[in-house]
C-alpha cells in the first residue's frame, strides 16, 4: 500500500461513455487505480487504460453519469486495484467492486491482493482428478465436476440456470474428506430478485457461512461488471491457496461481462471483432477462466462454473464459442426439455465434462461410474433417434428393441434427469437411478459396461 500522498489532476479533457481523458499527466501507469472526486465530493473509482503524450484514459467503474469536465479531480493512487482478504470474508456479501453490501464494516484485511491475480506457474499446476458432488444427478452421474476444473453452463434467456447454480452452491461438497469447502458466488448484471434469491437460498440452507457473495445488479453500472469476476476470483484464490480450502467459484452471467467489455471497446473506438466484441475477447475470458486449478504442494483448489446465457440460444455466438475453447467441457441447458417441464433441463447430448474420466471410478466414486455414464449417453442418443422415427412411422412401426429404447428415454428424463430444486441426491442414489434406466433395456444392449458390473447392478424386471 502506497504511503506517500498522490497528485490530484483537475484537467479533464473529455468524458466519453465510460471513459474519462485527463490531460497534463506527469506520472501514471497502465492499470493504475484512480480515485475520482466530483465537485460535490462524490468519490468514484477507475483504472488507467492508456497513458501517453501527457494524457491518461481512465475507465470509471461506477460510470460517468453526473461527472463534469470542470470541478472533477482525479487522483492516481500509485497501485493497481486490490481486494482486502481475510478468513472473515466467508459469510459476507459485497457489491460488484468488492465493497461491503451487507451493512457490516469493511473487512479487516490480512493482506491486499491485486484483483488481476498472478498467473499460475504452468509447471506447478496439478491435473484435476478429485470428484465434487453437486447432488444433481445429471451432473454427478454424467458430467462429473472435478476439483480445479472449469465447467461452464450454457443457457438461454428465461431458463433456470440461476436456480441450478444456486442449487449447486448449496449442495456442493467434497465427499469423504474433512477438508474445508467454500463457495464464491459472483452475480454479474443479474436482476435484484435473482440476487435476493441467491442470498436467501444460501442463508436458508445454512451455506452462507461458507460462502462469499459478490452482487453486481442489472441497474449497477455496466463497467463495474469488468471487475466483479476479478474480485471474486481473487477471493477464491486466497481461500484456496492461502487457506487450503476447496473453492467452487460460480460466475453468472458471463454474457453481461462480455457486454461490458464490448461497451468499453466501442468507447475506445477499437476495431470490432465478431458481433462487435473486441478482438481480445478470447484472451480476456481466458484471463478469468484460467484462474481455476490446483497447485502442486498446496491443499486447496479453485473450481469454476461460469454461467452464460446464449443470445437467441445460439451456441455459435462468440461468447459460448470462445468459452468452449478455454474451458474443460460444458453443460448445455435445452429449451425443449425446459418446455417439457424437466428440471434441470440439461441437454446431455450437447454437454460434456472433459475431465470426468480422471475424477471417477474405483477409489474415487464407483468402479462402474464411467461405464454407466457412457452407456446412458448411448441409450439416450438412440432413444432420441427412435423418437424421431416414431414420429414418422408411429409406435406400431417400431421393433421391440426400439420400443425399449423409447421407454428408456422417457425414464431417463422422468426418473434420472428430473429432480427437485431442493433435492440433494447422493452418488449412490444417482448411480442406482442410472441402473434403473439401463435395466429397462435388454442386457445384451449394455455393450459399454463390463460384464461383472452388469451382473452386479443390472436390475431384473419382475
Amino acid at each position: 500500500m502506497s504511503e506517500s500522498a498522490a497528485i490530484e489532476y483537475t484537467k479533464v479533457a473529455e468524458i466519453k461513455g465510460p471513459l474519462m481523458i485527463i490531460d497534463g499527466i506527469t506520472k501514471a501507469s497502465f492499470d493504475e487505480l484512480v480515485e475520482i472526486e466530483t465537485s460535490d465530493s462524490d468519490r468514484r473509482l477507475g483504472r488507467v487504460l492508456e497513458v501517453g503524450h501527457g494524457k491518461a484514459v481512465v475507465q470509471v467503474f461506477e460510470g460517468t453519469t453526473g461527472l463534469a469536465i470542470s470541478g472533477t479531480k482525479a487522483k492516481f493512487l500509485g497501485k493497481t486495484m486490490a481486494m482486502p482478504v481475510s478468513p472473515e470474508l466467508l459469510g459476507r456479501v459485497f457489491d460488484g467492486l468488492g465493497r461491503p453490501n451487507d451493512g457490516l464494516p469493511d473487512p479487516i484485511a490480512e493482506k491486499f491482493l491485486d484483483v488481476n491475480g498472478e498467473p499460475m506457474n504452468p509447471e506447478r499446476r496439478e491435473y484435476p482428478t478429485s470428484f465434487i458432488q453437486t447432488g444433481v444427478s445429471v451432473i454427478d452421474g454424467m458430467l462429473t465436476l472435478v476439483r480445479g476444473q472449469k465447467l461452464p453452463i450454457f443457457s438461454g434467456s428465461g431458463m433456470p440456470h440461476n436456480v441450478l447454480a444456486a442449487q449447486i452452491a448449496r449442495q456442493a461438497t467434497v465427499v469423504g474428506t474433512k477438508e474445508d469447502f467454500a463457495v464464491v458466488f459472483a452475480a454479474i448484471g443479474v436482476q435484484y430478485s435473482e440476487a435476493q434469491y441467491f442470498k436467501r437460498s444460501l442463508e436458508e440452507s445454512g451455506a452462507l457461512r461458507r460462502s462469499v457473495l459478490f452482487l453486481n445488479l442489472a441497474d449497477d453500472p455496466a463497467i463495474e461488471r469488468i471487475i466483479t469476476p476479478r474480485v471474486a476470483l481473487t477471493v477464491a484464490e486466497y481461500l484456496a491457496f492461502d487457506l487450503g480450502m476447496h473453492v467452487l467459484a460460480i460466475l453468472t452471467d458471463m454474457t453481461n461481462y462480455a457486454e461490458a467489455l464490448r461497451e468499453i471497446s466501442a468507447a475506445r473506438e477499437e476495431v470490432p471483432g465478431r458481433k462487435g466484441y473486441p478482438g481480445y475477447l478470447y484472451t480476456d475470458l481466458a484471463n478469468n477462466y484460467e484462474r481455476a486449478g490446483r497447485i502442486r504442494g498446496k491443499n486447496g483448489s479453485v473450481t469454476q462454473v461460469p454461467i452464460l446465457s446464449m443470445p437467441a440460444d445460439d451456441i455459435t455466438h462468440p461468447i459460448p464459442d470462445l468459452t468452449g475453447y478455454i474451458t474443460e467441457g460444458q453443460i448445455v441447458l435445452g429449451r425443449d426439455l425446459f418446455r417439457k417441464g424437466v428440471y434441470p433441463p440439461v441437454n446431455v447430448l450437447m454437454s460434456l465434462s472433459r475431465l470426468m474420466k480422471d475424477g471417477v471410478g474405483e477409489g474415487k466414486t464407483r468402479s462402474d461410474h464411467m461405464e454407466v455414464g457412457n452407456q446412458l449417453y448411448d441409450a439416450y442418443s438412440r432413444a432420441q433417434e427412435v423418437r424421431a422415427l416414431a414420429e414418422i412411422v408411429g409406435r406400431s412401426g417400431l421393433t421391440g428393441v426400439d420400443l425399449k429404447y423409447l421407454d428408456a428415454g422417457d425414464m431417463f428424463e422422468s426418473h434420472f434427469l428430473k429432480q427437485g430444486k431442493d433435492e440433494n441426491r447422493g452418488l449412490e442414489e444417482t448411480l442406482s437411478r442410472t441402473w434403473d434406466v439401463l435395466s429397462t433395456l435388454p442386457e445384451g444392449e449394455l455393450t459399454k459396461i463390463k460384464e461383472k458390473h452388469v451382473r452386479q447392478y443390472y436390475k431384473e424386471t419382475k
Binding site: 500500500m1 436458508e204 445454512g206
Partner: protein, 214 residues
C-alpha cells in the same frame, strides 16, 4: 306322515349349500382381510420409516441452518463491536494528533512535506494551504525553501480545517497535492485497522511474547 317332502328336502339342501358357500366366502374374506392387514402393516411400516427418515433429514437441515446462521450472526456482531472499538481508537488518535504541532520535530516534518510536494508536482509556483495554528510555521519554512531553491511557494491567507500538514495547488490550478495528516490517516487506515484489531484480539501480545521466548 313323513315330515320332509321332496320339496322341503331340496330347500334344506339348497340352504345348507348356501350356508357352506357363505361360510367359505366369509372365511376367505376374513383370510384376505388378514392378508391385507399384514401387507398394509409392512407398507405402513415402510411409510412410517420414510416419514421418520424425511423428518430426520429436515431436522438435520434445520439444525445446520440454525447453527450456521447463529454462528454467522455472532461473528457479525463481533465485527460490529470491533469496528466500534476501531472507530474509538481513531477518534483518540485524531485527538492526540491535533497537538502534533507542539512536537519538536514538527518543523522538520513540514519542511519534508513541502519538499515532497515540490518534487512530486515538478512546478515552481505553488500555493500552500494549512490550518490556522500552522500558518506562521508553514510560512517560515516556505520562505526558507524559496530562498534555498528559488521556488515561488505562497502560503494562502485563508486557513483550512485539517489536523495538520499541508495541501498544495499549482498556480494554474491543474494539479493539487494533499499531504495533510487527515489524508495520511485515510490512506493508511486499512493497514492501521489491521494493527488495531490485532491488539484488540491480543494477537500482538502473543506475537511479542513468542518472539521473547524465541
Amino acid at each position: 306322515m313323513s315330515s320332509s317332502s321332496p320339496l322341503e328336502r331340496t330347500i334344506d339342501k339348497v340352504l345348507s349349500q348356501k350356508e357352506s358357500e357363505l361360510i367359505s366366502k366369509i372365511d376367505s374374506a376374513y383370510q384376505e382381510s388378514l392378508r391385507n392387514l399384514d401387507s398394509s402393516k409392512s407398507k405402513l411400516n415402510s411409510e412410517y420409516l420414510a416419514i421418520i427418515e424425511n423428518a430426520r433429514k429436515q431436522a438435520e437441515n434445520l439444525k445446520r441452518q440454525i447453527v450456521g446462521s447463529s454462528r454467522l450472526s455472532a461473528r457479525n456482531n463481533q465485527l460490529i463491536l470491533i469496528e466500534d472499538s476501531v472507530r474509538t481508537v481513531f477518534e483518540m488518535v485524531r485527538k492526540r494528533l491535533s497537538s502534533l504541532h507542539k512536537e519538536p520535530d514538527y518543523e522538520k516534518l513540514m519542511k519534508q512535506a513541502l519538499l515532497n510536494a515540490f518534487k512530486e508536482m515538478g512546478k515552481n509556483d505553488l500555493s500552500i494551504e494549512c490550518n490556522k495554528t500552522d500558518y506562521s510555521l508553514v510560512r517560515k519554512v516556505a520562505d526558507s525553501i524559496n530562498k534555498e531553491m528559488g521556488t515561488k511557494m505562497v502560503v494562502a491567507n485563508k486557513s483550512i480545517d485539517i489536523l495538520g500538514g499541508i495541501r498544495v495547488t499549482s498556480s494554474d490550478g491543474t494539479l493539487s497535492y494533499d499531504d495533510s495528516i487527515d489524508s495520511r490517516i485515510e490512506r493508511l487506515k486499512p493497514l492501521i485497522r489491521k494493527n488495531i484489531v490485532q491488539v484488540l484480539r491480543g494477537e500482538r501480545g502473543r506475537e511479542s511474547w513468542s518472539q521473547k521466548v524465541e
